[in-house]
Symmetry: C2
Subunit: 507 residues, 2 copies
């Protein structure tokens, strides 16, 4: 078999069944081999940042890696910003990058670049296959690295001539590596803190923010614990009937206010909370300076098991029933989305400044999974929605996307249309980089004249998202009032096909 | 003055008057300071790869650096692939990247990343400003590095708190560094080779491919020299009445055939020619194995002066009058473009597989500058056209763009519309990654089944470039026949505003 065939069979043997790709000449043998491994689904994307973001969304929903297939250093370069987000999400991904043939490397051809240097910016595990015989070992190393808890972007670089050379059969599949269960001493110490009079909080992230972790945290809350969740967790079980841990606010002042008075913070697959940006005269740390941090479970450990043990240890048998006050503003776009969102939906959130008006409503929506911003690199919302839809074809995916952010990876819409994915995209069109308007004031930039204003004004010319979507094959409509939005969103929830709604704000 | 003000004033003092930007929170003070330095033109782009490609186009047309302003590591990541192309073009660019405030760096906030590692993939000169006092020195270092012949992408990383701190006035402007003139011995040796009976060629690239260099090369050709030009030169003076050096073909077989029999190749700001990709059983070097290479002028030297001296030394007083046979196919899209292209136009060429039908006609067009692919990273054509139009507002810019390639940085169209740039974009819509179809066969990938075919078919759904362009404010039309194309292209040449024509191929 060829190296390309050996690679694809190894992926399948390791239960990697999807490859988001934007291949070039160096990857043609992999593409050709797809017809001989039809169980491996190739998903073509028209920009590499769509591939990396989609693999991130896929991993967040399945816990398993997808592969990406990219062309040389510059192809990888275009994927890096969403690999950055995937790295912060701790998503397992096997990133396969074609390199020039070994004989060609010395000549500094136009596309020659230092692929390893590109890869190291997002991958601690970068493997270069040096010969056909090495391929099985290299693939095994990359799959193992990607899946090692908590998950990472592992890069596998394969010179083109290896793909067309005779290569050995793939090695045995990698045994899954379970997360280690934290030892009982940490559980006992956390229970002691929670039971003491000291003001003690619990902060969830990673797998602890999924449904089982949230349920266990709800038991702790019923026993009196203050439970918080990382606002940049990779995935968060949300919606009515579920315990709702408090999301730590984006801006440091309300976050510090929320956490003020805490003396201990128990970290469950989470790190000590810090603000997104620094501002003149403000601290970066969000917990008080005297607050002690206690790791109940590290990123790579089983935070859910630890939480359940902790709840048992605290004698917290069950969660309190969850009741919610109806939000006062029932005509807002957030209220409409929350009302109409079907059960078990997946929500990809890159609303940025519009999120403040929507997210508070989502806690009252039918139970759903929320996929938040993780690494803050703009342009993740649409690709993550795409990947989640490939991962979970039976579930409705809703991408809540800012107009500025959506432009970074708008090519996602084409793949969503091509694969007939059940994704409804809502574009929050305020025609500004409004978050920057807010941030400019916050960072104390004095003066805010017409030239600066023009650098955050994306309304001249106005982006026409209905045309952009239609140009890539996605049915689209524009809503200028709440009532129009309600009708269009309701219709989109009734079908199982791609839709886009441009909500021109404010209503 | 603040650090931000000091930076902008230093840019102006160094004749850097344009900044292509996609700023974020860390760069807000630079944006705010624009109102106090209105001579510095900020050009907003909706994706960072547009900024880097535009700065490349600007540098190719002016020989001077523009600045780019990008947000943290992930913002730089999105710009890297067009910085790769700029690096191969040896374009001078000052790439300014905002970093988190120094106090914030230790906390691994969501957007934290190793910016230096990102930058090193495209910049040999990466400067991190560590304090406000250091700013003037850091800026001077980056400007000097960018402008050091032949030109490079210099990266300057500035923590946000430096931009809002009190900083010193900018240092004195950097003195321009002239290219060194190659010594006479090299000229004499080259002249000796050309006058001997040995088969000797001359290969041009860099500044030697601009008008003066081409003219000098025309004198050499009149004296019997075989003159070639690097097909990936950053800029090439082209069009009727001018001497036309032979562009080295893309595929190695015809390139090797062309260069067969050469015993000496005189390199003028060029490197020994190599094929773009390697193929099974083919050599990467394009000149024969026994051909000796002679550097008349290195990349950083004055190849034009050397060529002129060489022509003098060879007694080549003037070029032969240039006459051209009319191309047999006068109804093709290439012939129409060549016929209607106005004098002194700038042509950005990213036609990829469609280029073979167009480029041969361009030599008969009115004199123009051609901006070819340099680093081979797809997505440079539209941004380079944008930057060239900012650099040369009095000249018509024509972007000849493949449909697949155009999708990587289609956001360019929005900035072209916003800045009312005189750019006509022609999309060659074959709805395939046709180059990959060719390359797949060439790399010997056996089998080419329906799944592989689908990975190079971008026609399902068909991209509607008229809607995509209109969605970003560019007037657009579709041509399905040669006659429609002629009318639309002719109309576009008569106006001085953005236009896009989707040419649905084949006619």
């Amino acid at each position: 078999m060829t190296g390309a065939e050996s690679l694809l069979q190894a992926l399948l043997a390791n239960d990697i069944t999807v490859c988001f790709m934007n291949p070039g000449t160096s990857e043609m043998h992999f593409v050709s081999a797809l017809d001989r491994t039809p169980e491996l689904r190739g998903v073509l994307c028209l920009f590499e940042g769509v591939c990396s973001g989609a693999a991130d969304g896929y991993a967040r929903m399945t816990g398993r890696p997808a592969a990406t297939l990219l062309h040389l250093g510059p192809g990888l370069a275009n994927a890096l910003s969403n690999f950055h987000n995937a790295r912060k999400a701790r998503s397992p991904i096997v990133s396969i990058v074609g390199e020039h043939s070994r004989q060609h490397l010395e000549y500094d051809a136009p596309l020659s670049a230092d692929i390893v240097a590109f890869a190291r910016t997002v991958s601690t595990d970068v493997c270069v296959a040096r010969s056909p015989d090495e391929l099985p070992r290299a693939i095994t190393q990359s799959v193992r690295a990607a899946r090692r808890p908590p998950g990472q972007v592992a890069t596998l670089i394969i010179p083109a001539d290896l793909s067309w050379s005779e290569a050995p059969e793939p090695g045995p599949p990698v045994s899954p590596q379970a997360r280690a269960v934290p030892d009982g001493a940490r559980v006992c110490e956390a229970a002691r803190l929670l039971k003491s009079r000291k003001s003690t909080g619990v902060l969830l992230s990673g797998s602890a923010a999924l449904a089982r972790g949230i349920d266990a945290a709800g038991r702790l809350a019923a026993a009196g614990a203050r439970v918080f969740v990382d606002r940049n967790a990779a995935r968060l079980a949300s919606g009515r009937g579920r315990f709702q841990p408090t999301r730590i606010p984006y801006f440091p002042e309300p976050a510090q206010e929320l956490l003020s008075g805490l003396e201990h913070l128990i970290l469950v697959e989470a790190k000590p909370p810090v603000s997104f940006f620094a501002y003149p005269g403000l601290r970066s740390e969000l917990a008080p300076g005297h607050c002690q941090m206690h790791v109940l479970a590290g990123f790579e450990e089983d935070g859910v098991a630890a939480l359940e043990s902790l709840a048992d240890e605290c004698g917290a048998r069950r969660a309190s029933p969850v009741t919610m006050e109806p939000h006062p503003d029932q005509d807002s776009i957030g209220a409409i989305i929350a009302e109409l969102l079907p059960e078990n939906a997946i929500v990809s959130d890159e609303m940025v400044s519009s999120g403040g008006e929507v997210t508070p409503h989502l806690v009252a929506a039918a139970p759903h999974d929320l996929l938040p911003v993780t690494g803050g690199s703009i342009g993740q919302g649409l690709p993550v929605a795409l990947g989640a839809a490939v991962a979970c074809p039976e579930r409705k995916v809703v991408a809540l996307e800012a107009d500025g952010s959506g432009m970074y990876t708008l090519q996602s819409l084409w793949t969503i249309a091509r694969e007939r994915l059940d994704v409804t995209t809502v574009i929050f069109a305020n025609r500004r980089y409004r978050i920057l308007e807010i941030e400019m004031r916050r960072t104390g930039a004095h003066g805010f004249g017409p030239i600066a204003d023009r650098m955050i004004d994306i309304g001249d010319p106005a982006l026409d998202w209905v045309r952009l979507a239609a140009g890539m094959g996605v049915s689209a409509s524009r809503a200028a009032t709440g009532s129009e939005f309600r009708d269009q969103f309701d219709a989109a929830m009734q079908v199982r096909e791609p839709r886009l709604i441009e909500a021109v704000l404010p209503f």
